[in-house]
């Protein structure tokens, strides 16, 4: 294990820790004063020569949610970098496939020429071996060398740049998959379970490789250009800050994990009546009767079972293209609500509305449900662009009895009408007939009313809430 490099600068170790804590705060992770104090104490207890102890030790006092960890790790690697042991790394790797003895920096100029191509080919061969073996430490070592050899950009006065895309282009690890599959599988194993499992293993190793390359590029860049600059660009938003509208498919899984518990809470909040305590009202007669056994002293009290109110909830959601990321979340939310309450009905619309409750039977799979809605539900009547007015009208007309005095209504959408009729009176009427009504809008508030957004006008007849990310959803749930 590598030791922690002596902290540079005037403040010594304490000052260095201060800088690290500040960077963490700037990345959106709240760190209280008492936590910062605890962090300083950690430095006195862990073995500072064991970098991983320091990493996990500081994480234990500075973090409070699992979603903060990836950001934390990026910053930790910048503030407590592995010491630079390039030569040693190259020496070790030289024992392997590449034995042409390149000095670091020698053959890495960006000139298309025999040497460079050879080097890349050699390293690619070595990489294939490493991916097959799956030794993570060896892969990390390889990644460091690959960045050194293949990742340099044009030298410039502001310092040497390193790019992971250069490394990935030279090695093109994705094209190794076929070769790796052959290596991992026996003859007859193609096509079935074994191949699927092997593919997953390869995916994991490639992901680890990419992460190691990116981490090394950040480390080298920080050494050249200062870590503050790298820290600013390198940190991805926390899962609960990811914009629903901009979520990449990679974010969705994480997002789903962040949203699932919120959905459950939302379901409870929307349905909760005033709590009556643990049990219902005292059942006087039963209590008196029981007290006869203890000489008239009511030792055991009996209560009537608490009345359970069946909540009624109607979810009305825009599933058009403009809210693709959001509607994914929306439908997830609907599924979670359905899991808890039978009294939930879900309706989806684009330019027409259809009931989609049946796709969300408890136990159903969200991904399936989304696909089935696309195929089977009647949500597009005309051209596939949102038409809120028509959608509301169809809803109010075909399911006139769906909304009543015991119904909570939840509308989910961006309120972008494509300059068509917004259908305000219909919505206002639905709101009037319901017990409570809220609209969750995935667009930032400042855009409400801009262009074809009718969000500001809808906001006059219904409680419109900005809900761009999981953090805001959490906020909404608690204020309900």
């Amino acid at each position: 294990m590598t030791g922690v490099p002596g902290p540079a600068g005037s403040g010594g170790l304490a000052g260095h820790l201060d800088g690290f804590v500040r960077a963490i705060r700037e990345a959106g992770i709240p760190v209280g004063i008492s936590q910062a104090v605890d962090a300083a104490e950690i430095l006195t207890v862990v073995d500072l020569l064991e970098r991983e102890q320091l990493r996990h030790g500081l994480a234990a006092v500075l973090l409070q949610r699992a979603a903060q960890r990836p950001t934390y790790d990026v910053l930790f690697d910048l503030w407590w970098p592995l010491s630079d042991r390039r030569r040693t790394v190259a020496d070790e790797a030289d024992g392997g496939a590449s034995d042409d003895g390149d000095e670091p920096g020698e053959s890495t100029l960006d000139i298309p020429g025999g040497d460079d191509v050879d080097l890349a080919a050699l390293m690619r061969e070595q990489l294939a071996q490493l991916l097959l073996a799956g030794d993570e430490e060896a892969l990390r070592r390889f990644a460091r060398e690959a960045v050194e050899m293949l990742g340099r950009g044009q030298p410039s006065p502001s310092g040497q740049s390193f790019f992971s895309y250069r490394v990935l282009r030279a090695l093109s690890p994705d094209t190794l998959v076929a070769q790796l599959l052959t290596g991992l599988l026996a003859e007859g194993d193609r096509g079935g379970l074994a191949e699927q499992v092997a593919r997953q293993t390869i995916r994991e190793r490639l992901t680890a490789l990419r992460a190691a390359i990116e981490s090394e590029v950040r480390r080298r860049t920080a050494a050249e250009k200062g870590r503050d600059k790298v820290a600013k660009n390198a940190v991805r938003p926390l899962a609960d800050q990811v914009d629903f509208l901009r979520a990449q498919s990679g974010d969705l899984a994480e997002l789903r994990r962040a949203v699932a518990p919120l959905a459950r809470r939302l379901a409870v909040r929307l349905s909760a009546r005033r709590r009556l305590g643990r049990e219902g009202r005292l059942d006087f007669r039963k209590t008196v009767r029981a007290s006869l056994g203890t000489g008239g002293v009511p030792v055991v009290t009996h209560h009537r079972p608490r009345k359970v109110h069946k909540p009624e909830l109607v979810v009305l959601c825009d599933v058009s293209g403009s809210v693709a990321g959001f509607s994914h979340f929306t439908l997830m939310l609907t599924q979670a609500l359905r899991e808890h309450f039978t009294g939930v009905r879900a309706f989806a619309f684009v330019d027409s509305t259809d009931e989609v409750t049946r796709f969300f039977r408890p136990g159903a799979d969200v991904v399936d449900a989304v696909q089935r809605i696309g195929r089977e539900a009647d949500v597009v009547g005309f051209d596939g662009h949102s038409d809120y007015g028509t959608a509301f009208e169809v809803f109010a007309d075909r399911w006139a009895s769906a909304v009543g005095p015991r119904t909570s209504l939840l509308v989910l959408g961006d309120g972008r009408t494509n300059y068509r009729q917004p259908g305000l009176p219909v919505l206002a009427d639905l709101v009037r007939r319901s017990r409570s009504a809220h609209w969750l809008n995935p667009e930032p508030r400042r855009l409400w009313g801009s262009g074809d957004s009718a969000a500001d006008r809808y906001g006059e007849v219904i409680d419109m809430v900005e809900c761009r990310n999981a953090a805001q959803l959490a906020q909404f749930v608690t204020t309900l």
Binding site: E41, D47, V61, Q196, V197, A198, G295, V297, D365, D368
Partner: protein
Amino acid sequence: MPRPPSQSPQFSSVADVGKRLSTAGYLPDTQIATTVFLADRLGKPLLVEGPAGTGKTELAKALATATGSELIRLQCYEGLDEARALYEWNYKKQLLRIQASQGTDGADWDTVHDDIFGEEFLLSRPLLTAIRRTEPTVLLIDETDKADIEVEGLLLEVLSDFQVTIPELGTITATRRPMVVLTSNATRELSEALKRRCLYLALDYPSAEREREIVLSRVPDLAPGLAEQLVRTVRALRALELKKSPSISETLDWAQTLLELGLDTLDEAAVRSTLGVVLKHASDQDRAAAELRLN
């Protein structure tokens, strides 16, 4: 924050934690071992958060075994209150005692009062029990997220000064602070205040390598090659984003099942016939069968 009464640390180093937990049947990674070491050194409660079946409860149990402590467990649930968590007066017994005293004249109310609020009528619940113990103790507060918010206030009080005030009896202070482990499935956020008082340990599914070691240590008769195959297959299932991803518990159940059925390879037929052990929802089974090409 006043530091609770100190207790001499149980572990000498992170490596010592790793060694002794392993001996107790729990294989920790560096993160777990380091955080446990710090909780012991700094005398702070350990909050372990993560999905179901990732070894949260087991960690507390192994910790008790490794340190020769008794495990006191407070299982949280919706509606848990002070009377169940801390202490309660045994009012049935009190009532009967009052009744009995009504016959004998002369027993004035004050005597009876002192009497019925004595030790004999006190029902000690896990939190109080843990504080009063003089022998080494691990206090496990399991599934904290299931309890209502109000319980967190109570925990906060008890965990910050390790003392409990019972109006009729006075203040009871721990003579020997227990090691405290709280677990949570993160179905809701615990309060900031409670989190700040604890060291935070996020558990997730283990690396392939560690999971294989766990399988081999818990189901030692399984062939190593099959264990490897099993763990790889479980990881492929976890990548599918199922309603309920298989956890370590399911991996272990699966290993046990394969062993009992005498299966020595995990091919399509073997997976098809045992999938119910790993995936509990019908929709998850269908999905897995399609994605992993079981048919």
